[in-house]
């Protein structure tokens, strides 16, 4: 139950059918200690302004849908609490570096294209018939890629990456983390194909090791580590081409 305290949310609104550019709209809402920012914007939509658009689903930092800029930092709205910003005003905006589709909803089409480039699935190193049973993997083999498999595609890392803001063609942190997740998998045999997406300047070489992507990651995936390890592998591959006689 609300306990009499209130907080003002300054929400960036944009409706392509009406607005020439985004505008800030303030809403003052009651809150309690256990209310997340997601619950705050849900309160606005349910009680003050039904036209407010935002993405959400699981409410427990699993689905990766509710990423937004909260006080200028990319965060999951479901695991950020209003009590930490009271009495406000608390600035809430759509994830940076992405085109705004409407209000807090961004266009993630560019990321979906990148995701396809890194083939985020296992291409079996050795094809097995179903009756041959499961592909076996040791705990040590699992450990090699496990942290990268925790990525929930929330895109906070892209909103934190100035290089992606500068050049949206940059493959970026999450796609590269998923590239490593599959390349490091002992069952997979498509590393070379994935590396084609990484070799170009718009692959991993745009990264200047800012590292903020890993700071904002809600699942401790460490995408900066994935990008920089991919750089090393890309460089080794480049030199190896001379040894192999060029391609």
């Amino acid at each position: 139950m609300p306990d009499g305290r209130s907080i003002t949310l300054d929400i960036l609104r944009y409706d392509g059918a009406r607005d020439a550019k985004p505008r800030v709209q303030a809403y003052t809402i009651p809150f309690t200690d256990d209310m997340s920012v997601l619950q705050g914007v849900q309160y606005v939509k349910d009680n003050l302004d039904g036209s407010l658009a935002f993405r959400w689903s699981c409410r427990m930092a699993i689905c990766g849908s509710c990423g937004m800029m909260v006080a200028g930092i990319p965060r999951l709205a479901c695991r950020t609490f209003l009590r930490d910003f009271a009495p406000g005003p608390l600035a809430i905006a759509p994830l940076e570096h992405f085109p705004i589709e409407r209000d807090l909803v961004v266009d993630i089409g560019g990321f979906m294209d990148k995701l396809g480039q890194v083939k985020p699935w296992i291409e079996p190193r050795v094809a097995r018939a179903l009756e041959e049973g499961a592909y076996r993997q040791s705990p040590r083999e699992l450990e090699r890629f496990e942290s990268f498999s925790h990525c929930i595609n929330c895109l906070l890392c892209y909103a934190a990456c100035p290089q992606y803001g500068h050049d949206p063609k940059f493959l970026g942190p999450a796609a590269t983390a998923l590239l490593q997740r599959y390349n490091l998998d002992s069952r997979d045999g498509a590393s070379q194909e994935r590396m084609e997406a990484a070799h170009s300047e718009e692959g991993v070489w745009s990264c200047t090791a800012v590292g903020y992507c890993s700071e904002v990651c809600p699942k401790a995936v460490d995408p900066a580590n994935a990008v920089n390890r991919t750089k090393t592998e890309s460089a080794i591959d480049w030199f190896a081409r001379f040894v192999r006689g060029g391609e």
Partner: protein
Amino acid sequence: MAVRRPYVRPFEPGWWRRNPYFVRYMARELTAPFVGLYALILLSGLVCLALGRAPYEAWVAILRTPASLVLHGVLVAIFAYHSFSWFAIMPKTMPPVSIGGHRIGAAAITLAGLVAAAFCMLAAWFVVQAVA
């Protein structure tokens, strides 16, 4: 059906001023040219040494001027920050390191880098003192 008109926000030149993390990143980048510059100063010393005793002694004399000593004091501070900032990010640039089955934490990797840098600096100092 409504026509889509996504809004692309401009990427502001002053983006790095809004977040202390980015300010520290830009400070790291700003210190990089000084590292390159000092490499050229050391390289010029090598060239002077190759040219003979007199050019080398002239180079050393320039380094010993008050202006040069002040410059070196400033550069030491710049290089210290540059080294610290890179060793701070080093765990994000390398594969996991395990010793005896235990993964080494990021803080330990950074500390090891800083200790190695301090050791190299002290070793270089003693070498210079020995030959000066």
